[in-house]
Amino acid sequence: MKTFYWLVKREFWETKGGFFWAPIVTGIVFLVLNGMALIVGEVFGRRGGDHWQGFRIGGQGLHADLAPDQVAQIGAGIDIMFYAVASIILCVTAIVVFFYALGSLYDDRRDRSILFWKSLPISDTSTVLSKLASALFVAPAIAVVVGVLVALGMAVIIAIAAALHGVGLWALLMASHPIRVVLNLILLIPLYALWALPTVGWLMLCSAWARSKPFLWAVVLPIAAGVLVSWFDMLGVPGLSSGWFWPNVVLRLFGGLMPGSWLMLGEPSSLAGLDHHDPAALLDGMNLAFHYSTLANPTLWIGVIAGVAMVAGAIWFRRWRDDS
């Protein structure tokens, strides 16, 4: 266990730039841009005179006397903002993790530092699993925390702007639930990990197997397969469906890291039944139970099984690939 902890720590040392600084820098850029946009809005709003409608959050205009249910809607609107901002950060991390997984078992073979790591009494299984854990748990956890901090920063900026209009937004911020948002996002990480397992497994398998250019293999192979299937499909070969193959194989192999991409499951997508005009109801509809209902879908579990097999393949190649 101690060894595993240090292995994960080693991954963090190596990828601090991607796992830690990339979300933070993105967050800062995001806040600065939004701050600038708000100032532009203020300036034009003042010039525009009477057309200024004021802020609207959660479908509610901000004014002095709000009914309690309106306050609740505004709170829900701010919560959605939290989720949205965190999603942006999670998307950045998803891209970082994509390239991290692709390089995880390849880079040290290329620069031969694998010879140093292999001189230590650490099994290849622990090594590969520590990289897997970094990709599926450590990186998303950092992104969630950074994302919510950025969202809080965003809330402060909005509150300052609202205060300029004599609206006391602080009271309204109290109607939001940042801690619940963090908790929900953290609790979603296990689902995210299960869903992204085939993608990360595939990338790591390519990383452990490729003698060069793992990116090309990881991306070109599934796409080429997809094109072939589509081609045969067009020719009318029975038993092949490109409409099934692309989303269920090609996209799962390298799109599974996109946060919330399990929501695209099902036909029509499970998002369709939600009311987009009522923030509070929308939030209620997208609670943890809603997300975790994905577990009932065999597609997820087939992906998990494929992912486990590919990780096992990555371990095997890590042990026996002999080219350094």
């Binding site: 060894t3 080693r10 230590l120 009494p121 650490i122 042990r319």
Partner: protein, 285 residues
């Protein structure tokens, strides 16, 4: 005493070539063995087999373990430095020590800190900021702080200046080596390790062509400086090699009795380098 490494019929075939061709050898404890061979003779493949980094045919026993099956356990007792600059460039000196200290059960941190205190290495430096010589100092400090039974060095001083090279072997001898430990080293800079070796193995085309300890090497091989008038007599004794220096010939003999040779001229012990050149004649032809 039980051998540290026993190889019997060690064979490794790559797609197009035979890297190891039934090599057999034995390495005892407390020895410093030089494994010397031309480029592509199979040195590195042999070391990789011992370290469990590659598959092979034949039988190989390292400290009672099969490196193919029990690599993780084996690496607690075996250390290796493969070439310079295999330490990852992003690693900090401090983190390297921390990591090994927490993952290697036989690592002695105090020892490592003492070794590092003798160098100019700073804890916050990253490997990419270090010179080649300093990287080796770091790697050597890490490895020497591990109480292992077998140390494997594959061209450990390649590309280092002479100060670092001398210091490397001196440190190994003074602060690391004892009768409990075994060192197996490959290098092209034969003359630098000549005086520290206890045993010598030549490898050529995947086969061990010479396997001897340094004492019997002196008894078996002799070099004789012969004047022109006795040169033909010397040739009749079937020398391994002949070369000309200042109008005289230097002959290298294998297993010819010393009194017989002393009649021809001045007899001395050949250097490993000369012996190597004579043994490997025609390798690249």
């Amino acid at each position: 005493m039980t051998a540290v490494v026993t190889a019997t019929g060690l064979t490794k075939r790559y797609k197009s070539s035979l890297a190891l061709d039934g090599a057999s050898f034995q390495i005892g404890p407390g020895r410093i063995v030089g494994l010397i061979g031309p480029n592509g003779a199979g040195k590195t493949t042999a070391l990789k087999a011992i370290l469990g980094l590659t598959t092979f045919d034949g039988h190989l026993d390292v400290l009672g373990l099969d490196p193919r099956k029990e690599r993780d356990k084996l690496m607690e007792q075996v250390c290796f430095i493969a070439d310079v600059a295999v330490l990852p460039r992003w690693l900090k000196v401090r983190d390297a020590v921390d990591f090994v200290a927490n993952t290697h059960p036989r690592f002695d941190r105090a020892k490592c800190d003492a070794f590092l205190a003798r160098t100019k290495l700073q804890p916050e430096q990253k490997v990419k900021q270090l010179s080649k010589g300093m990287i080796v100092q770091l790697h050597l400090a890490l490895v020497m702080s591990i109480d292992a039974k077998l140390l494997i060095l594959d061209e450990p001083t390649l590309g280092l200046d002479i100060l670092y090279r001398k210091q490397f072997y001196q440190t190994l001898l003074e602060d690391y080596f004892d009768e409990e430990k075994t060192i197996l080293v490959t290098t092209h800079q034969v003359e630098e390790i000549e005086h520290i070796l206890t045993d010598l193995m030549f490898i050529r085309d995947g086969k061990i062509v010479l396997d001897t300890d340094m004492d019997s090497l002196g008894e078996r091989f002799s070099e004789v400086l012969v004047g022109a008038e006795l040169a033909s007599a010397a040739r009749e004794l079937k020398p391994l090699d002949e070369r000309q220096v200042f109008g005289k010939s230097i002959f290298l003999f294998d297993n010819v009795s010393r009194p017989q040779l002393e009649q021809l001229g001045e007899v001395r012990r050949p250097s490993i380098g000369d012996l190597f050149v004579a043994t490997m004649k025609g390798t690249y032809a």
